[in-house]
């Protein structure tokens, strides 16, 4: 009885909280709409003020604002540093997301079609019918596939996520997931996927247990051995076997950089893909002659619902679907940046309101000297923008340090997708810096508008009293 009563009370309380939260969310949406309006108004006012400052109209001398910032340098520095932190964080977070996007965008070749088992959205969960090849695809698609003499540009691949065990120095084991791809014709697979080898490496012969490593995973294994990267001649343990490294792929900035490639039969026998019925493959990648016809060819394969239906899509589409995690991180990064920006905006508002209250007499004198309300507004708005820009530029510079840093993450398609763990490089490009400076301007404009409006509304005589 006590339990039921407690459950009922909890239920009523949770129901009440849920309603309260819905009301708060409703109010927040209203507030957000107002904030959006304010942002637009602030940006317009800032744009007008900047334009006005650049044109040869009478205005409050720019030197006046610079001198004031110099005189109140402590406040200026503190506010600018807050901006620097916010913008640097945004740039760092966007660099990470950009690195992930670049990875998924670089992985797909425009003319490639990836064929999976019917219903599968990820090669990790795909199991193709035994003996899959080009001749089992629809007739019109067969004619579209690129050929070298009689040889189709098509490769069968078995993809497994291997659980790698690494003994720890103090005893025990550490585990890591490693993506392994077994291919039936490695050189053709490399051509189809646009992969090249680094100097000194060779494609495996297939006679012994050999692997070719992506540049990212080679660095990861290298760190285990206390060196920058493993290379040809080194040996690694994956699953129940030791594998000899035949070569390392050139950095292509794609997800293949995080994979280990081996001969298909070796992967199949090591990881339970060899059955009495035949060897199982995860995907079948074909290159069509005309990259623009790839989507059409994939549609033909997908729509052919005969004895052996397949799922098919262009490789670029497949990898762009893996950007679900990227979108998630992008949204998270933007939310963090916006919330931090609100803190920055409130900080600059404090600074500007204080500046205005300290300089009320200045404003009164300027008004008596003939400066208009609009000129006062634009002067203070520009001052707030200067603080923001100092902080923003420093923030972008600080955030740019992350360019080229290595990080690990997972890319996945979300719904039912398996995901791939990847080694990526952070990318700070013009777009990321533009986003950083954009946030800077928005923060400066929004934070400066309300104080500048209050400065504009000061009456000359009252402010001189």
């Amino acid at each position: 009885v006590v339990g039921t009563f407690r459950e009922s009370v909890r239920g009523v309380f949770q129901g009440g909280v849920r309603i309260a939260v819905k009301i708060i969310i409703f109010l927040l949406v209203g507030v957000l709409a107002l904030v959006a309006l304010m942002v637009v108004a602030s940006l317009l006012a800032c744009a007008a003020a900047t334009l006005y400052a650049l044109l040869p109209f009478p205005k409050v001398p720019f030197r006046y604002n610079v001198r004031n910032l110099q005189v109140r340098w402590k406040t200026t520095v503190v506010t600018a540093v807050a901006f620097t932190l916010v913008v640097a964080l945004l740039v760092g977070m966007l660099a990470f997301v950009k690195g992930m996007y670049r990875l998924t965008q670089s992985s797909g070749q425009p003319g490639n079609i990836i064929v999976l088992s019917d219903g599968a959205t990820d090669e990790a969960f795909s199991s193709l019918p035994f003996g899959v090849d080009v001749l089992r695809l629809p007739k019109n698609v067969q004619d579209m596939v690129q050929k070298d003499g009689d040889k189709f540009w098509a490769v069968r691949e078995v993809y497994v996520v291997v659980n790698q065990e690494m003994p720890l120095a103090g005893g025990g084991l550490k585990r890591r997931f490693v993506q392994m791809r077994g291919v039936d014709d490695v050189e053709l697979a490399a051509r189809i996927h646009g992969i090249e080898l680094q100097e000194g490496g060779t494609w495996f012969s297939g006679k012994t247990y050999e692997v070719v490593l992506g540049d990212g995973v080679a660095r990861t294994f290298g760190a285990d051995m206390g060196k920058d990267s493993v290379g040809p001649g080194d040996t690694i343990r994956l699953g129940p076997k030791e594998w000899c490294v035949a070569g390392v792929m050139k950095a292509s900035g794609s997800t293949f950089g995080s994979e280990v490639w081996a001969r298909d039969i070796h992967v199949q026998e090591s990881f339970g893909r060899k059955t009495q019925q035949g060897n199982s493959y995860s995907s079948f990648v074909v290159r069509v002659k005309d990259p623009e016809a790839a989507a059409k060819a994939a549609e033909f394969i997908q729509n052919e619902r005969g004895q052996e239906p397949f799922a098919a899509m262009t490789e670029t589409e497949y990898y762009s679907k893996l950007s679900q995690t990227n979108q998630q991180f992008l949204v998270a990064a933007l939310i963090v940046a916006i919330v931090m920006a609100v803190g920055g905006v409130l900080g600059v508002m404090n600074t500007m309101f204080a500046a205005i209250s300290q300089r009320a007499k200045d404003i009164g004198v300027m008004r008596l000297l003939g400066y208009t309300r609009w000129q006062i507004l634009s002067s203070f708005l520009l001052e707030s923008l200067i603080i923001a820009l100092i902080g923003g530029i420093l923030g972008c510079a600080l955030g740019s340090v992350t360019h080229g840093w290595s990080a690990t993450s997972i890319v996945s398609s979300g719904a039912g997708g398996g995901g791939k763990s990847v080694a990526l490089k952070l990318v700070v490009d013009a777009q990321v810096l533009l986003a950083g400076m954009g946030l800077t301007v928005i923060m400066g404009a929004v934070g400066g508008l309300a104080p500048s409006l209050s400065a504009m509304r000061l009456r000359p005589l009252e402010s001189l009293r």
């Binding site: 949770q14 309260a20 900080g347």
Partner: protein, 444 residues
Amino acid sequence: MSFLIQNLILNPLNLFGVIFGVVPIIIGLIVAASHPRLFMLVVKNLGRNRLRTALTFLAIVFLVFMVIIILTVVTTLDSFTTEKARNLKLIVTERWQLPSQMPLTHADYLDPSNPKFLLKGFGITPNDFMTWSFYGGTLEPGKVTLENLIFFFVMDPKHIRTMMDDLETFDPVLVKKMQETRQGCLVGRERLEAMNKRVGERFKVFSINYKEIDLEFEIVGVFPEGRYNKSAIMNDSYFNEELDKYARQRGKKHPLDMKRLNLIWLRVKDRPTFEKVAGAVESASQFADLPVKCETASSGVATFIEPFKDLLWAMKMVMVPAILISMALVVANAISISVRERQKEMAVLKVLGYRPTQILGLVLGESLLVGALAGLLASAFTYYAFNSMGGIPFPMLFFQSFPIPGGAFLWGMGMGVGTALVGSLLPAWSARSVKVSEVFSKVA
């Protein structure tokens, strides 16, 4: 006592909250009670420039809100990867690859109620065992969207209360109903809403991972609000019977027939027992054909989280400090402006007989009061707003959402008070050191 040790001393974040939040607040309350006039002066001073107070307050609220969200994600993941000392849950999976796919017979050797049970003498009872298979599909054939996609934990319903995390108090009536309804399933609230279904309704699932095994279900109940909002459970007996039926009807086994078991769960009393059990399982000849590995649930989760280690490090070591620093800067800025504006007032207070320590306390009191209230409000809002939705909606690996822990109140207060303290120390010291003669000579 053990609760206090567990939640305060062993949890550095909660301890931080107590040291920087609760202790200063208690000291502040004692000072306020013993010097009510000084406290009233603090309150009045805050009311003198309401705009500045409000802006500083709001800035702290927003930034504390953000830090609580980040810390919740990080600490939740940490808690899943931290080894427990007692009642360890073990996962037995296929040794070399992911997803783990084992034959159903593997479970026989580890099921305490099965005569083939291998682990006699380790204190493992039938309540300490559970198996999982994963069955997923769509409500319409070939149409994969978030709305019509559903994944089931395939398991014996009798283990829901005994082995599933956070379902220890799950309604036993629903468990019984699941056991009695062969096609019964339990579905989380959010998944149910996304599918636009209600309890009692029936639906058919066209499988994605078990080709040609399309199953019909009847919804018998909903999970309690929280981590299972997007999950579903179905009967393992129904699943296994359908796979067996496939073999009988087609004259050949389903391609995944011998790979239908994904995970085996066991619970042992402590770490030494785990070591022994793991050794016995991994070396058992019964698993020689398809080797298995045995690991604690936390170490299993840690392997999945491994690729995010850089990101989590950056969240913990870069983002949180950066936000805290900008929060301290906002406070420092506001307080130093306020102190500069009130130099004459400080000098007058000194003339009236206020000691430098009292002036220091006055300025510190103002910022601490704002920091404490803002931290408390931010943590209360974050806690109730997100937990009413089942947690922070940030699907990541097998975590659908991250509920805000109760300790967030301590973190919020700790951050609010701590950053207010750090931010206002220098301005308060400069207020304390105001020289009366200098201030009045300037006025003169």
